[in-house]
């Protein structure tokens, strides 16, 4: 028997740090980030002032809502888990060179499958929650797999199909919750059912520690963190991950060395859908949520999760802090809008801050490019898979 591979921790640590340590242009980037964030905050402050709100109070509301106390922390972590799951999924298929932008739909379909199973299957105790989460993952996975199949057999561009499938998913779920498929049962003769499912039975909910509003941690966060670390390890350390990366970087060479390129590429796309679906299951089965399927279940988690992955440049470990940052904005934003600031403003602030964080490395590159050096590495948009020659 072979000895277990020594996972030299120092080595791993070094690599993680290498990602985090400011590089050649690090300090410039950092200072530019600070400047841009300040600008974004300045613009936001201006808008806030125009609405008659106080910028400092708003900032402190964001702080209060997201980090200042255990309730804030709980809310932030609750928001972070599904974002992280989506981002990790996006990172997997990006590593294989496929660009999935349909997470919003995959999250919803995950929720649809999870709700269906959770409401129709009478399973005892904790079995049910496992089955619900599995069904959610399968749902999201299948939805993404449709795109993979369309690419495989008809060469349909994955970006395009995942985008279109998102809108199909939204309509499908809207339809499902307003028809006998999943609409809540109306009580009595004049009781009118809303366009949502019944709440899941208590058995179908994820277990957690603590009770909101004190610190409440549930299995979702654990799941997401394990997924992030696990996927990071699998991608960088495992044979499978090695093959995935090969497919992403040069599918022909990968094929030559014996990788089933088409199958693996399609599988990673499905897998990324499965992670998004799992996020949908999480939104559905989180102990601190309505536990119903609704058309708005995904609540931009898919889009935001995709942004997390893009900002983290598709590295699962980096996605942990980034998803946390997004979660702070989501949680703080919710709180801010509860102070009377229009929620739209919160959206605007979020959008400006995303730009402020994403732009600097590229702007630095642009500045360097002006001075004649190697142009910046473009934002890591994995190649949109084109029809790969005759070879695949």
């Amino acid at each position: 028997m072979r000895a277990a591979p020594t996972m030299a921790p120092d080595d791993l640590g070094r690599r993680v740090l290498a990602h985090l340590r400011p590089g050649r242009d690090g300090w410039l980037t950092t200072s530019l980030t600070i400047v841009l964030v300040a600008v974004a905050l300045g613009v936001s402050a201006l808008l806030l002032t125009l609405t008659g709100a106080s910028p400092s109070a708003s900032l402190s509301a964001i702080w209060t809502g997201s980090l200042a106390n255990t309730t804030g922390w709980t809310t932030t972590l609750l928001n972070a888990a599904p974002l992280l799951l989506v981002a990790v999924g996006a990172a997997i298929c990006a590593s294989a060179g496929t660009f999935n932008i349909g997470q919003e739909g995959q999250v919803l379909i995950g929720g649809l499958f999870g709700a269906w199973v959770g409401l129709r299957l009478a399973l005892p105790g904790p079995m049910l929650v496992v089955v619900v989460m599995a069904a959610a993952a399968v749902g999201g996975g299948l939805w993404a797999a449709l795109s993979a199949l369309m690419y495989r057999f008809r060469g349909v561009n994955v970006v395009v199909s995942t985008l279109l499938m998102t809108f199909l998913a939204i309509q499908l779920v809207t339809f499902a919750v307003s028809t006998p498929w999943l609409q809540e049962s109306a009580q009595g003769s004049s009781g009118i059912a809303d366009a949502q499912s019944n709440p899941l039975p208590a058995d179908a909910l994820l277990g957690g520690l603590g009770q909101y509003p004190s610190m409440q941690l549930n299995a979702g966060l654990f799941l997401a963190l394990v997924a992030a670390v696990g996927v990071a390890l699998v991608l960088s350390r495992s044979r499978w991950g090695f093959r995935v990366r090969m497919v992403g970087l040069n599918p022909l060479t990968a094929k030559h060395t014996g990788v089933r390129v088409a199958a693996l590429g399609g599988f990673t796309l499905a897998l990324s859908g499965a992670f998004a679906g799992l996020a949908g299951g999480l939104l559905l089965a989180s102990p601190v949520s309505p536990n119903r399927l609704q058309a708005g279940l995904s609540d931009n988690v898919g889009w935001d999760g995709l942004l997390v992955a893009l900002v983290a440049r598709n590295r699962p470990l980096i996605a942990i802090p980034v998803s946390f940052g997004f979660a702070v904005l989501r949680a703080g934003g919710d709180f801010l809008s509860a102070t009377g600031v229009p929620y739209y403003l919160v959206d605007i602030v979020k959008a400006l801050l995303v730009l402020a964080f994403v732009a600097p490395p590229l702007l630095v590159g642009l500045l360097r490019g002006r001075r004649g050096a190697t142009p910046p590495t473009p934002f890591p948009l994995p190649a949109v898979p084109t029809k790969m020659k005759a070879a695949v």
Binding site: T51, M150, L168, Q171, P342, A351, V358, A359, T374, F379
Partner: protein, 304 residues
């Protein structure tokens, strides 16, 4: 009413629903031919819808509103172009952020103001408008709709006949090669986005000051994405793209008119029809669906 009358009504309604899509689709088509997968059309349309009504309300002139709507689209196209084809920020990030930003801004601004209703005038063409079946649909619209007669051929000419368009197509197919030929890839893509912004802005403004006469929150309701679906449905050809818009417009018109004709149907799934049709078109006509080879890919000099 006779079948003929009903058909006339549905056709007219379909054309009205098509026009804003068609404007924006011309723009998106051109942008995608340049390789710029622009998902901020929604932002362009919505932003323009808002500013056009705001301007019309302030100046009392719907036409001025329309013009300001076009400018709004241009500004959004300018921002998108510079962020994603100069600063090289991932174009999808930019698109998502811009869509959120504009939805947020317009939704917020509408809470601060009440706007009076304004609409541009109808221009009926004598004689032609009396042609049975299509006369009403095609020859008695709001006047800016006739701009399509100008803009569609212009877009076609720009893409297929002008030097600028030749360079655009080169940029959309193979930016590296275009670059060594001396074409400024980023510049062309940014220009394409400006054109897209202007036309999407026109579409959005037309929706507001042409069709509806007022603005309400998120009034474009995803038309930007339908426009993208139309370009895909149209296999990156202008004629088919516009056909796609017409199909989507007409199917909506049918959906909205059939209940009045006594046909009951559940409309919910039909809302998804454009996306489904676009997917089906890609699946069924896969071989003819040749997207611009560099669609959605950033260009970086020196990378291959």
């Amino acid at each position: 009413m006779s079948v003929l009358d009903n058909t006339t009504t549905i056709l007219a309604s379909g054309v009205r629903l098509t026009v804003p899509l068609a404007f924006a689709a011309c723009g998106e088509y051109l942008a995608q031919r340049a390789g710029a997968m622009n998902i901020s059309v929604e932002a362009m349309m919505l932003g323009a819808a808002f500013t056009s009504i705001a301007t019309a309300s302030a100046t009392g002139s719907a036409t001025t509103g329309l013009a300001v709507g076009v400018v709004t689209g241009l500004v959004i196209g300018f921002v998108h172009g510079n962020l994603s084809h100069r600063a090289q920020i991932n174009t999808f990030v930019v698109g998502l952020v811009l869509n959120a930003l504009v939805l947020g801004l317009t939704s917020y601004l509408i809470t601060t103001q009440q706007f009076a209703s304004h609409q541009v005038g109808v221009l009926s063409i004598p004689l032609l408008k009396d042609i049975p079946l299509i006369g009403q649909a095609l020859f008695s619209g709001r006047w800016p709709a006739y701009l399509l007669i100008l803009l569609v051929p212009l877009t076609w000419w720009l893409v297929d006949r002008s030097r600028w368009g030749l360079e655009l197509r080169a940029v959309g197919e193979n930016p590296q090669a275009a670059d060594v030929t001396g074409i400024k890839v980023g510049v062309r893509r940014r220009q394409a986005l400006l054109w897209c912004g202007a036309l999407a802005g026109l579409g959005g403004a037309y929706l507001a000051v042409g069709e509806v006469g007022s603005f309400n929150q998120n009034m474009t309701a995803g038309r930007g994405y339908i426009v993208i679906a139309a370009v895909i449905f149209g296999a990156w050809r202008l004629g088919r793209t516009l056909l796609g818009c017409l199909v989507f417009g007409l199917s909506d018109a049918m959906r909205l008119a059939l209940p009045a004709l006594g046909v009951t149907l559940n409309a919910q799934l039909l809302v998804a029809a454009p996306y489904l049709l676009a997917l089906l078109a890609m699946l069924l006509f896969a071989t003819q669906h040749r997207e611009p080879a560099a669609l959605g890919r950033p260009f970086q000099r020196g990378s291959t």
